[in-house]
């Protein structure tokens, strides 16, 4: 006679409840390769499933906004390098335009074109890093070497243009530090050819790579509504299907003169964010080529900028007027009219905003920096729970944030 013991579903549920145990709290970071800087995630885990994610930021807080209130507008330019330190040129431009709008300065065409070139090169540089590191986060080491090779060439160009590889401080309020070096545009053109080849190679290595697809496709999708609700900007917003790009929709620095497309995702998952960045590099190259072709001649600083720029050193030593001007600018800073301005620029990571309140004089009364990375990270508690612990590296990499800008 057979004896079978029937097990009811209720028993199984009770037993698995018994086995469940308690949740585990895990601190990921502040120093962890996947957090790309000093970010700490306070995670609550059930097995290896994340049920709660609380990002802890502030490890890189330097008080940039406080510092800005205590120095002149010109002195703050180097600090903007250290916001998104992967695209310092773009930060420089955003800050300069914000102050120029407040001061009511109009830039000559050549200055605007050079700034566009700077912004797009910064975008390529930032995305090359973003893509390379993202591939590394998901287990593909080679791509990183390919993209960093190109990035190195870019840094050589930056060095030639600005004198620094990393902390460029290239723009000045009312212009630039210097004009383009001779033959530089041709070298950028050569770089453009090379970077497209590399991007195609990365495309072949990653886009149909089974392991990469497994790690990214369908992981942490951000819906259009969620992206807007959390105020995401830049590639992260566009990957969710919102075709909004400040370069097209609120053109600044002459972006309306150039032809380019805005890549937009459909699902908003990690894979879409990767694809959007890949295409943005190609579009940036397209813009760069147009800039090179149409680079206007003329002045590279505004005529009115003489009230802001330090006069040429030779004249300071020999002419009274310039000496006084130099003295006033160094001690009191450029005189910016009272008022308030909010300017956002389309940076590689998203919209970098500067809100400046001036009471007149050479020092801002309040300078608020709206960092896109800060906003991108604020969505983590909404998208990370429900994913596995290993997916976190994939999610963080796809958001492409930088802590220098998040913590300011």
């Amino acid at each position: 006679m057979k004896t079978t013991k029937e097990i009811s579903l209720g028993d199984i549920a009770a037993r698995s409840e018994e086995l469940r145990g308690e949740n585990m709290t895990l601190n990921m970071g502040p120093s962890h390769p996947a957090t790309h800087g000093v970010l700490r995630l306070s995670l609550e885990l059930d097995g290896d499933k994340v049920i709660k994610c609380d990002p802890v930021i502030g490890y890189l807080h330097r008080g940039d906004e406080k510092i800005a209130e205590n120095m002149t507008y010109n002195q703050f330019v180097p600090y903007t390098d250290r916001l998104d330190y992967l695209a310092p040129l773009a930060n420089n431009v955003a800050y300069a335009i914000a102050v120029e709008r407040l001061a009511g300065l109009k830039m000559p065409e050549r200055c605007e074109a050079i700034r566009v070139a700077c912004c797009e090169m910064a975008r390529i540089s930032s995305h090359l890093l973003g893509l390379g590191v993202y591939a590394m986060d998901t287990g593909a080491w080679t791509v990183f070497m390919y993209t960093f090779n190109e990035r190195e060439k870019l840094y050589t160009l930056f060095e030639e243009l600005t004198g620094a590889r990393f902390t460029t401080s290239y723009t000045r309020i009312g212009g630039l530090t210097r004009d383009l070096p001779e033959g530089w545009l041709q070298r950028v053109e050569t770089f453009c050819d090379g970077v497209l080849k590399t991007i195609d190679e990365v495309d072949r290595l990653l886009t149909r790579n089974g392991i990469f697809l497994e790690r990214t496709e369908g992981v942490a999708p951000i819906s259009k509504e969620l992206a807007l609700a959390y105020g995401l900007t830049g590639p992260n917003l566009r990957a969710s299907g919102v075709p909004f790009d400040l370069r097209k929709d609120k053109p600044y620095s002459g972006y309306e003169k150039y032809e380019f497309d805005i890549p937009v995702g459909t699902k908003g998952d990690c894979f879409d964010r990767y694809l959007v960045r890949m295409e943005e590099v190609r579009q940036s190259v397209r813009i760069l080529r147009q800039v090179i072709k149409t680079m206007p001649g003329g002045a590279w600083y505004a005529e009115d900028a003489k009230k802001i720029f330090l006069p040429p050193k030779a004249k300071v030593m020999t002419k009274m007027e310039e000496l006084i001007q130099n003295f006033m600018l160094v001690t009191e800073g450029p005189q910016i009219p009272a008022g308030e301005v909010y300017f956002e620029a389309e940076n590689p990571k998203g919209s970098l905003g500067f809100y400046i309140v001036s009471n007149g004089g050479g020092v801002p009364y309040r300078l608020r920096i709206r960092g896109p990375s800060f906003v991108s990270l604020s969505i983590l508690p909404a998208i990370v729970p429900g994913n596995f612990l290993t997916d976190i590296a994939s999610i963080l990499g796809s958001l492409d944030f930088v802590m220098g800008e998040c913590d300011r």
């Binding site: 909010y342 309040r366 709206r370």
Partner: protein, 195 residues
């Protein structure tokens, strides 16, 4: 942006002069309602920025500035709200993205956001006693006890000096050449006998 519609619906709202975008001073208690109305009826679907501002000689002292963006109409709007009793209604139920911005405004200025789901500090640690972006707070910082007692026990110091040494604001005399600001810790310097 239909400016008239906003001032008609909320008569206490005042339009202000501005060089870059429509700017309004809104009544403190109407702030959340207005942000909701702008999102639902005027298409301002993205909260670009929310920040605090300190006016020590004004009453009320603190203000909150909100920048909203319409991704469909491609325009911005700016709202100023004064903080009666240092408090202002939270808008994070309307724009969840405001959550962190409001935490930062609380952290930096001590502005309270009524109805905020998670009113913690964000950049400074929880037991930090000051609000650093207030105008009276000194640039060089104020020494405060370390947050963790066990760290203090190991280091033998109760305070952690603000990391300003070697920064652009602190220079100190002595043997160092050229008046260059330098780090206080000279253990790497050969002039110091090696232990």
């Amino acid at each position: 942006m239909d400016v008239a519609a906003l001032t008609q619906k909320f008569p206490r709202t005042q339009s202000q002069k501005s060089i870059d975008m429509p700017t309004f001073a809104v009544a403190n208690d109407e702030l959340a309602e207005i942000v909701q109305y702008l999102r639902d009826s005027q298409g301002f679907d993205l909260l670009a920025d929310l920040c605090g501002i300190d006016w020590p000689d004004r009453s009320p002292r603190f203000g909150v500035v909100i920048h909203l963006l319409s991704t469909t109409n491609k325009e911005y709007i700016r709202l100023h709200a004064a903080c009666d009793n240092d408090a202002v209604p939270s808008v994070s139920s309307i724009h969840p993205g405001a959550n962190w911005h409001e935490r930062e405004a609380y952290d930096m200025f001590g502005i309270k956001f009524t109805g905020h789901p998670d009113p913690r500090r964000i950049l400074m640690w929880e037991s930090y006693p000051y609000h650093p972006l207030r105008k009276e707070f000194p640039l060089a910082g104020i020494e405060v006890p370390l947050p963790a007692a066990d760290v203090a026990a190991v280091t033998g110091q109760n305070v952690e000096p603000a990391p300003m040494m070697g920064g652009p604001f602190v220079s100190h005399g002595g043997h160092m050449s050229g008046g260059e600001p330098q780090a206080l810790d000279q253990s790497w310097n050969e002039e110091k006998p090696k232990a």
